[in-house]
Symmetry: C2
Subunit: 340 residues, 2 copies
């Protein structure tokens, strides 16, 4: 069995008859080291299959160049695309990311935060779990390191944030539904304690008012927006005395559940009931009928979030908070387009 031996700068130093400090400087292209020794050192490093030890240099420098990224679920196109773009930008700037998922659970989120802090990440980029109402752990992050939020973030935390205009999204949705002659529009909403969902509800209500449409309280139903939530609530809406003629769902997965129930009940979509989701998950274009939805520009969000983070790292003491709000884009598909 081969030996799992890792070589260190000491080994390189020994081979070349130098001191570890000289080797360290050579490897880091320190200006006051001769080109000759630099070349020799780098040569030897390759020979010995030298791999720098992050732990020790991070410990010494007090900087790990690691960034923790916490997302609710990895298996969602929106979040994984955001992370991909964050990673792209941060890698170019010498950072590596540690991606973790909360699975929408508060307890898991807290655990992940603690782990990341123990690992001594240089900062944390996060989108909060649905369950999270207690901001204590996020305050803890703030007291120990840098924090930037995207999509699901609360204003009270007073940190840099990148997201879309959720209020406006609802207007786009309602305006479009009205143009399709819908006037009994229900909203399968996310939990009101989360800012983005609250904004979507607020936008929905204001848009209804704008068009002089009635806004029934039992047409706004909050939930976790899982598949089964969409199914359950759609069933509930179908059973109610006053059926809506359109349903605006604050998440695509729940919209899919709602669609399943509609089809199982032989209800024509969009003719009898129109349907609109949120996030532009890829599967929305695969269903029959395809689901109209709102594009959140995950690539832009990822890029801008990473840039906000880098900016914050350069200037940790800056007091002004950066809030970047992108324009949402309505994607009209079969589930809400009666003309086709």
């Amino acid at each position: 069995m081969e030996n799992k031996k890792k070589s260190t700068i000491k080994d390189i130093a020994a081979v070349l008859g130098l001191t570890p400090s000289a080797v360290s400087k050579a490897l880091n292209d320190h200006p006051r080291i001769s080109e000759k020794t630099k070349i020799a050192v780098k040569e030897a490093a390759i020979q010995l299959d030298y791999q720098p030890n992050y732990l020790s240099s991070a410990l010494r420098k007090g900087k790990s160049n690691l960034v923790g990224v916490i997302i609710p679920r990895v298996n969602s196109h929106f979040f994984s695309s955001v992370v991909e773009n964050i990673e792209k930008v941060l890698n170019l700037n010498g950072y590596n990311i540690i991606m973790t998922q909360s699975n929408e659970l508060y307890a898991k989120e807290c655990q992940e935060i603690d782990t990341l802090l123990k690992i001594q990440v240089d900062g944390i980029i996060a989108s909060m779990a649905n369950e999270t109402t207690n901001l204590e752990y996020y305050q803890k992050i703030k007291s120990k390191t840098e924090l930037v939020l995207f999509d699901r973030g609360e204003e009270e935390l007073n940190v840099d944030y990148v997201g879309i205009d959720d209020y406006k999204s609802s207007h786009l949705v309602v305006d479009h539904l009205v143009s399709q002659n819908c006037n009994r529009i229900a909203h399968i909403a996310g939990f009101q304690h989360i800012r983005i969902y609250k904004e979507r509800i607020r936008g929905y209500k204001d848009a209804l008012e704008k068009w002089n449409l009635e806004s029934k309280e039992n047409w706004i139903i909050e939930s976790n927006l899982r598949l089964e939530d969409g199914r359950r609530i759609m069933q509930q809406l179908l059973g109610s005395s006053e059926r809506p003629d359109a349903v605006y769902v604050a998440g695509d997965i729940a919209a899919l559940g709602a669609l399943q129930v509609l089809l199982e009940n032989n209800i024509k979509v969009p003719e009898e009931i129109a349907l609109i989701g949120f996030s532009d998950e890829p599967f929305t274009s695969l269903t029959q009928p395809s689901i109209s939805t709102v594009n959140q520009h995950s690539d832009q969000i990822g890029k801008l979030t990473a840039e906000a983070f880098l900016e914050r790292m350069k200037n940790p003491k800056k007091k002004t908070i950066n809030r970047i709000i992108l324009e949402p884009e309505l994607i009209i598909r079969q589930s809400s387009d009666k003309k086709k």
Copy 2:
């Protein structure tokens, strides 16, 4: 602006009039420390909002309790579910995972490997990128730390492996298609240089032979199995002089592309051409018609891979290699079921 100050065992020691080493022992429940001081230390740790520093303890102990996980793409149900299950098991055993994705690119994979090695992970769990043919970097992992592979793994590397029986999968698929009276079965394959795809091709050929069906070389087309590959190859097959009456695709995404082309050409699925994919990605049940596919038991693979890793950590010198091969399961949906 609040101070981003992290407290250390020194701070705790100072508060209680102890030495750092005593505090360290107390925090780690060392037996030769009195209950009284343990309680006092833990109390003070909470007061000071103490967060252990992984870097230093890892450096000292030569063990980071970090495990690197490299997957081709995070945005695939199969891989994200495997990772989720790996994480579950490893967390229970005191490990944290660092999840990275190669995006199917060899260069990215090498970069991720180097990063993980620098971070001094205690081991790496990986599923290889499609592009990877040069095993040099995997040899490098082996020479520095522990390695366990799942799904996409090569036998020559001679490391612990968890996967399904790909050869048998193809038999299940072909047997089923034959039962549906298909006898001109094409195969949109993965690249032959990857063992699992080679096995699927081998199984496909042997199964055809078993049923005395002709096996045309231009009915086996290798590709990257992306959506556009599925589209392109399906188009090619439709244009060929001898059209198949069934297509077995080695990946669900490519199968989706193939389905799109079939529908665009008004070909009845499964009546004119039957279709079967691979991996049981959730969207396969959403398409119209839904896509038959092969279930790879991602949860089991994740769990068993993590257990194999833990076993290896307990006994790094063990020479015998563990190869765990699970039974595949054919999931019959509309795209291949003519009776419905």
